[in-house]
Symmetry: C2
Subunit: 468 residues, 2 copies
């Protein structure tokens, strides 16, 4: 990689013991112990990719798709004041995370010329008060509505679509068509025929790419490009990480090594995986990761006819903010967590701290430093304090926060997820546990064919003696 | 309580078994088993209160304090376009939570007349890019800066104070004094003399009230009143809950009963406590609770000279959004969680879902319902699915989201925390585990007297062989 494209690094010093036997640290022998299995998983992932079974890995290289997105944005970008994304879960979290990382959390409050693109509203809930409040803010006559659902069956997204389409038609007449983009399965589901019938611009959720692995497909790229994120650099960063992730020796592959550490600590009685970025802009990357990790790895594993409930629980934290909220627990609570801190070297901006009026004021030591230095000191202090309490932690370091480094980070975490899932011997790509809830929602909303389930659910009335 | 003040309820049906012996459910005998201890804890809390050792419990009744806040806001409220809170942890999370609950998450994007008050920026991080971006947005000549630190030693807040004071002086000259409010300890710490010297308006963090229990003191009330939150109703809600929480039979006290359920499940191998509001506006209440729960209960307990690491880990989730992110894990991952869902009956607004063009479209069943109905169906579906997977869950129901119900909720959760802490036999009011990190930050920032610690920390250089 050229110097212009600095790479992110994984530092796992604070997990390593000099010798085996420490229950909270790892020794070389722990890695030796999983080397054969890790080698098999590395080979499996390479074979699956070759066979076309892991298309998410090839998303950084879809030049045609990216070209079409650029063409759409070039033709339409200037016409809209707002981009409204209707999507939930994997159709929302990647866009939110990358946008916040590259454009900051104050983006929507900036004047248009400072933003350089439309405002972005990702409506990933159906709370009526919140949806109504967002619709109050948006002039739909100057907005693009991006509807994202692979299946076209997502109740939340389809309800939002029906609402927005109705408003668009009322306000724009026939011209409403230009205000809707549909991103859905290439062939299946009810949204594809809707797009065809109404002549909405359609983009594909690529075959075989699940929602939580789809941020580098049109699902993320189209809205991100609309609001001025440099998607070429994002994909270049992902491609650069892909090169490093093709390494089959897991000790030299940052995604596999990170996954191996997570796997080993899961076996060692630390089922909680905390991601704590020391960067406000990366806050929502931890939220995206939360879905990736939970939905991929939280699975029932069948073992000799028995069901085993498997999966680490991801936890999102934020440095330095959560030092004043969670670190008490992290240091003195149960030693059941592995921490991934994210460090940033260059924040792009810095703020000097002026001296105190009276140098003898107890906070006088701050003067003459900068906020970057304070941020860095706090991160190092937390790392030191965690390690002192024997709480294992790794640090992923980003030279800076931009499209290239975020592309590297997301891709690394995706590959880490595949690796860890295979090590845990579960299927990281399905989500059978959410089907019952979807069916129950259909039933309670009166969908045809679900009458019996509805009756079953409604028969369960709470006993008032357990309500206070 | 009058009908005009509807009360929140706790429904724990989905924890209850008909008979004892189910590892994932509770039986009446479980409650019988802790009744003596719960009775003692109830008495202890009542005694402590009487002795003046739990002043947070009396915050709803400080009429003088509230009067002074109203006077300040009446005199100054109109002069400011923005309120900037400099505070972190307990000085920030309560304000964020109550403001979002009562004013919604789009508040800052609304025009002034729709907002009815200044914008609110709670700057609870020192990320230089983020702080600089917020300062870009705010015209300090039209802003009130509220500096909140009980000790006056909080590095993050004091750094922000030095930066903002410098900018205010440069832009306003002597008039800058009117733009700063200090909320700090009544007597101790360096901020009190600063306020005195520079004639800043001072408010007190009441004696004996820790940050995470301080939302109903000036820490929360002053900024909340400035941005139009009805703090009288907030306190009335808290007082109404206080009446219910004086009940010493824990089974009839919602805070104690909720704490008892959390305690029993902690003992039964479910150390993860998930709070999942089905309300976008209550999202940040879960974040406030995360500090309250983690920092209060994550403690080292000394037992026969041994150290036991105690404490449940709170997890913040959001309905319906996180159904598409976390519910897979919640149902098929390890059965190690107790869930608290928050239900809302009346969202204040509703959005009808129009019919599909083609009633045979597979999403046609949605038409004719409303978003409130969908939100409610999804919550019930999740509750049902969790219960079906034998994942215990309770539901706290709010008739609506407003100052009164939020006051009830916060107060209940505070009392629940005191109760659970005493049941766990730890001190819920201190936070010794964060001291090392603070000292390490002082050391790395060059504070006098910390030279040895700095040398110690800096001597620990990462071994490059564990960096990839």
């Amino acid at each position: 990689m050229a110097d212009a494209d600095p790479r992110i690094t994984l530092d796992y010093n604070n997990c390593m013991a000099d010798a085996a036997g420490d229950e909270h640290l790892l020794a070389e022998s722990d890695f030796d112990g999983i080397a054969d299995q890790a080698g098999e998983v590395a080979q499996l992932i390479a074979d699956q990719r070759k066979a076309g079974a892991l298309p998410y890995l090839d998303l950084p290289y879809k030049a045609d798709q990216v070209k079409r997105i650029h063409e759409y944005v070039n033709e339409n970008g200037d016409q809209f004041d707002d981009v409204v994304v209707l999507g939930i879960g994997g159709s929302a979290l990647g866009t939110i995370a990358v946008h916040a990382a590259c454009k900051g959390l104050t983006y929507n409050l900036l004047p248009r010329d400072a933003r350089g693109g439309p405002r972005l509203f990702v409506v990933d809930n159906v709370d009526p008060a919140h949806v109504a409040a967002v619709l109050d803010l948006v002039d739909l006559r100057r907005a693009l509505v991006v509807v994202i659902s692979k299946s076209g069956e997502t109740a939340e997204t389809m309800a939002q679509f029906l609402i927005c389409r109705d408003l668009l038609r009322a306000q724009l007449g026939a011209d409403y068509v230009r205000h809707v983009v549909i991103i859905t399965d290439r062939k299946e589901g009810p949204l594809r025929p809707v797009a065809k019938r109404e002549l909405f611009e359609p983009f594909d959720v690529p075959d075989g790419v699940g929602g939580r692995f789809s941020v580098l497909s049109p699902v993320g790229l189209l809205p991100l490009a609309m609001v001025g994120v440099n998607i070429d650099r994002l994909l270049q960063g992902a491609a650069a990480m892909d090169q490093r992730c093709r390494e089959t020796d897991f000790r030299r592959n940052p995604a596999f090594m990170s996954g191996a550490i997570q796997y080993l600590y899961y076996l060692k009685g630390k089922p909680l995986s905390v991601m704590m970025p020391y960067s406000q802009a990366l806050r929502d990357v931890a939220d995206w990761y939360r879905q990736l990790w939970a939905e991929s790895l939280g699975k029932i594993r069948k073992e000799n006819g028995r069901e085993v409930f498997v999966g680490p629980t991801p936890i999102k934290a934020l440095g330095v903010t959560d030092q004043h909220s969670q670190v008490q627990l992290y240091r003195e609570g149960p030693n059941d967590k592995i921490f991934t801190l994210i460090a940033v070297k260059d924040f792009g901006r810095d703020v000097p701290i002026p001296p105190a009026d009276n140098p003898k004021d107890s906070f006088g030591y701050l003067g003459g430093n900068t906020l970057r230095e304070l941020m860095d000191a706090e991160r190092r202090a937390t790392t030191w304090a965690l390690t002192k309490s024997r709480r294992p932690n790794v640090t992923v370091a980003l030279p800076r926060v931009d499209e290239h480094t975020v592309g590297q980070l997301l891709y690394m975490l995706e590959v880490q997820t595949s690796f860890t899932g295979e090590m845990l011997r579960i299927n990281p790509y399905d989500q059978p546990g959410v089907e019952d809830g979807k069916r129950a929602t259909f039933a309670l909303m009166g969908r045809e064919g679900y009458e019996c389930l509805r009756a079953e659910i409604e028969s369960q009335q709470p006993d008032p003696k357990y309500v206070i």
